[in-house]
């Protein structure tokens, strides 16, 4: 391997990137390169338009050859973005890839400062620190560990279903974990999908049964991920399987037990129908549920409540599948990659936006409730009717409920305009009612979406541009009597209107699930400010997370429609497969080790390691670090009183030289 370690023969190359004008507009890159050229041991210093481009990387390789460079500093963007790229270039140039350091003069300098002189000075400081630091770098070797080829998919909505099927089709074992009794997620509640108006069930339910029948998929519904340990390629997950009081293996889904239940009629709000219908304590969430296995709700079942039920369900089940003593179980699995597709929840307007009358005025519905009403397997068999069973003559659809407002959620939920158009079409088609859409901006950015909007315009649906101020049942004129009145400023007409309707539909937005923060902690990933899971890079790594081996799919990352969700789920599956098919993963060599000669055997470090990677060797009276267990945080290094623990890539000398140099320019 090229390059020595002694200070005497250090030959450093410094490369200052313009990043187009991203850096060059705020940092005087020529001056920076000039100053870098005069720094100790610097043999070559250049500035270049795009260091990450092929010619930029070639330039490094050429200089390594021509000038016998043995250390490289690149001052460009964040190392979190391109450190890998440049390490690769350095390696291809014949040097150890860790004879390299990056100075972040874009994210931490050019982009955040407004004074060119100050930004230029800062860039020089950061490069001086990098130049001195890189002199201390040692040749390191990457550790490789083998990858477990199994994948855990969390969430059985369309995102999780699609990802699971793709991975399973590639021949890998998939564990699909779904919290609810059935997979299908939100999509299973929809009647039609925009803009093609194809039936949601017709495209979803075949995929649901594929999941059930796939030899490579282990499906655990009514289950949650209780904990995850380990790291890329080698995760250990604990899955909590909640009791449904029915033995899944034995039940054949004949549904006789539901028929036999002591409750002759449904009595409790049916969650699947958004509470618009009633179910029994013994139930199946919906007819096409996967798995076709009933469940007992212990909160309402007479046996659990009083212990005095005659249990007709038990006597009717000739498979003996009912098990009132079923207990929660924990399954432990090992996987190499994880795809998270935990989805979203819809905005609840009850307390947060009382002016729209939801739960106050009878005929104010959320869009999801209306999805159930228009659905032929819904509580009314597809009839759009008011609470009293009559048909509405006029329906108002209010866009952006809970979205695009600093008082509620600031973001656009992306799907509401389009699903509002879809509902407008379906309601108009079924009831012939006058349908009014109240919108702020019409957002139809997708294939066939604008065309769908045009179609609705031609169908005679009314569009009023304005954010609705409120919904009231207080009539001012006779034709408002007994109806709901929508008050809105028509911003195209330039006047305030009162529009009487019989039914109000609130197009509620999408938001992170209430427990997204707990899920985030379980998987050690991050959330963006609004609470959706954070992708590694918004453009270049949209399905990866900051934790290697954990990928995102669907609305848990941000609101998106079904085509985008499926595309992202496919991408997440491809990422997971790409990782697994490598067979092994290279780990950062930033682990710590103990210099046995220096170790005093004080044991200070032992209790600090969260991974129990440090053990005390009694015979030698010295501590030792198991490199395979060390994750490279450096906590023990900072605590060692004798300075005998060394962290690769973050050695004391390296950090001290950075401190010294960022402060040396007085």
């Amino acid at each position: 391997m090229n390059g020595g370690n002694g200070d005497g023969d250090l030959r450093i190359g410094v490369y200052v990137c313009h990043c187009g004008i991203n850096i060059a507009s705020m940092v005087d890159v020529e001056k920076v390169a000039e100053r870098a050229a005069a720094m100790p041991h610097v043999v070559v210093a250049r500035d270049y338009k795009y260091m990450c481009s092929d010619p930029g990387q070639q330039m490094i390789a050429q200089d390594v050859r021509n000038h016998r460079l043995n250390r490289i500093v690149v001052a460009a963007c964040s190392p979190l973005l391109h450190e890998k790229t440049f390490r690769g270039a350095v390696e291809r140039a014949g040097l150890n890839p860790f004879f390299f350091h990056m100075a972040n003069i874009r994210e931490h300098d050019a982009w955040v400062h407004e004074n060119r002189d100050e930004a230029t000075t800062k860039a020089i400081d950061l490069i001086r620190a990098a130049v001195r630091r890189v002199g201390h770098h040692k040749a390191l070797e990457r550790r490789t560990v083998s990858i477990n080829p199994n994948v855990l998919v969390v969430g059985g909505g369309i995102a999780g279903i699609h990802a699971a099927l793709k991975i399973a089709d590639a021949g890998r074992r998939v564990y699909l974990v779904e919290r609810e009794l059935s997979i299908g997620g939100h999509m299973a509640k929809f009647d039609k999908t925009f803009p093609t108006l194809d039936c949601a069930a017709c495209i979803l339910t075949p995929k649901m049964s594929q999941v059930k029948d796939h030899p490579n998929i282990t499906l655990w519904t009514y289950s949650e991920v209780a904990g995850v340990e380990g790291f890329v390629g080698n995760f250990k997950a604990k899955i909590r399987r909640k009791p449904r009081y029915i033995d899944e293996e034995t039940c054949v889904g004949c549904l006789e037990c539901i028929e036999a239940c002591i409750f002759k009629e449904g009595k409790f709000p049916d969650e699947y129908n958004e509470g618009l219908s009633k179910r029994k304590p013994m139930y199946i969430p919906f007819p096409q549920a996967v798995p076709q296995v009933t469940a007992i709700d212990p909160e309402t079942c007479l046996h659990f409540k009083t212990g005095k039920c005659k249990q007709p369900c038990v006597s009717v089940c000739d498979r003996k599948a009912i098990d009132f003593d079923q207990k929660e179980r924990i399954e432990e699995i090992e996987v190499g990659a994880i795809v998270i597709g935990t989805g979203f929840q819809t905005f609840n307007p009850t307390d947060r936006l009382p002016q729209y009358g939801y739960k106050i005025l009878d005929n104010v519905y959320t869009a999801l409730e209306v999805e159930r009403l228009v659905n032929s397997s819904g509580p009314t068999g597809g009839e759009v009717v008011l609470r009293d069973g009559s048909r509405p003559r006029a329906v108002g659809i209010l866009h952006c409920i809970g979205s695009r407002d600093t008082k509620t959620n600031i973001w656009c939920s992306r799907v509401c305009c389009m699903y509002s158009l879809k509902l407008a079409h379906l309601v108009h088609e079924r009831t012939k009612a006058e349908v009014y859409n109240f919108y702020i901006d019409m957002r139809a950015p997708g294939k066939g979406y604008e065309e769908f909007y045009n179609r609705l315009l031609e169908e005679g649906v009314h569009f009023i541009r304005g954010k609705v101020g409120g919904v009231t049942d207080w009539a001012m004129v006779p034709e408002e009597e007994g109806r709901l009145v929508i008050r809105v400023e028509d911003t195209l007409g330039g006047f305030v209107r009162r529009v009487p309707v019989d039914m109000v539909v609130l197009s509620t937005g999408l938001e992170p699930r209430a427990d997204a923060d707990d899920v985030r902690r379980t998987f050690n990933i991050s959330c963006s400010t609004e609470g959706f899971f954070l992708e590694r890079h918004p453009k270049l790594a949209p399905v990866e997370t900051a934790s290697d081996g954990i990928y995102l799919a669907g609305c848990c990352q941000a609101p998106k429609d079904i085509p985008d969700t499926v595309a992202q789920a496919g991408a997440a599956a491809a990422e997971a497969l790409a990782l697994i098919d490598r067979g092994e993963v290279e780990l950062e060599p930033n682990t710590a080790y103990i210099d046995a000669d220096e170790c005093s055997g004080c044991k200070s470090c032992l209790s600090l390691c969260p991974y129990n990677a440090i053990s005390f060797i009694e015979e030698k009276k010295k501590a030792e670090i198991n490199e395979a267990l060390c994750k490279g945080c450096g906590t023990c290094v900072a605590a060692c009183p004798s300075g005998s623990i060394i962290q690769n890539l973050f050695e004391d000398d390296e950090i001290f030289s950075e401190i010294a140099e960022v402060l040396s320019d007085v």
């Binding site: 972040n104 982009w111 991050s526 930033n590 969260p610 900072a638 960022v662």
Partner: protein, 173 residues
């Protein structure tokens, strides 16, 4: 110090997973903050050796900022708690050395909180600017000078003391 207005120099130690990423986000979002800060990346705030902080002050930093993941969010489970422990111990020592409290700051900043990086940096620069230069190297120089002067005086008294008496005795003899 020159006639120019005092510009504080702040060294920051940010953990790679949360705060360093947040600083990247601040950049990507083009937020603007004071340029007085120099960020050094560590894998975890648990790696922040108190010596790094002392060294920074000794080399002329006017303030030191440490950034880590929020409690419970540490990528390495508990490194940030270890950092917190050391931070409190070090703070006591710094006050004994006459280094004002606001010169050392620990902040939990998650990867999503680019705006917090901006706020914290700006706040800290403002506070440290109000405190004025720490100039620990200068103070060391003064302390060294004082010690040297004291040494010299002791030496002088020592020379003058018994030696003089001795000299007097000798002359009498």
């Amino acid at each position: 110090m020159s006639d120019r207005e005092f510009e504080p120099r702040i060294v920051a130690f940010f953990c790679s997973w949360c705060t360093y990423t947040a600083a990247d986000l601040a950049g990507v979002s083009r937020m603007k903050y004071a340029s007085n800060i120099r960020i050094i990346r560590l894998m975890c705030s648990g790696r922040v050796d108190p010596q790094f902080i002392m060294d920074a002050f000794a080399r002329g930093a006017d303030g030191v900022l440490i950034g880590g993941c929020h409690p419970g969010d540490c990528h390495y489970i508990s490194g940030n708690y270890k950092c917190l422990r050391r931070f409190h111990l070090l703070k006591r020592m710094l006050s004994d050395l006459g280094i004002e409290e606001n010169r050392l700051r620990l902040e939990w900043i998650s990867a999503a909180e680019g705006d917090k990086v901006k706020r914290v940096v700006n706040e800290m620069v403002q506070q440290v600017r109000a405190l004025g230069p720490l100039d620990l190297p200068g103070r060391f120089g003064e302390w060294d000078k004082e010690v040297r002067e004291l040494d010299a005086r002791i030496q002088q008294e020592h020379d003058a003391g018994p030696c003089e008496a001795h000299a007097v005795k000798e002359s009498q003899a």
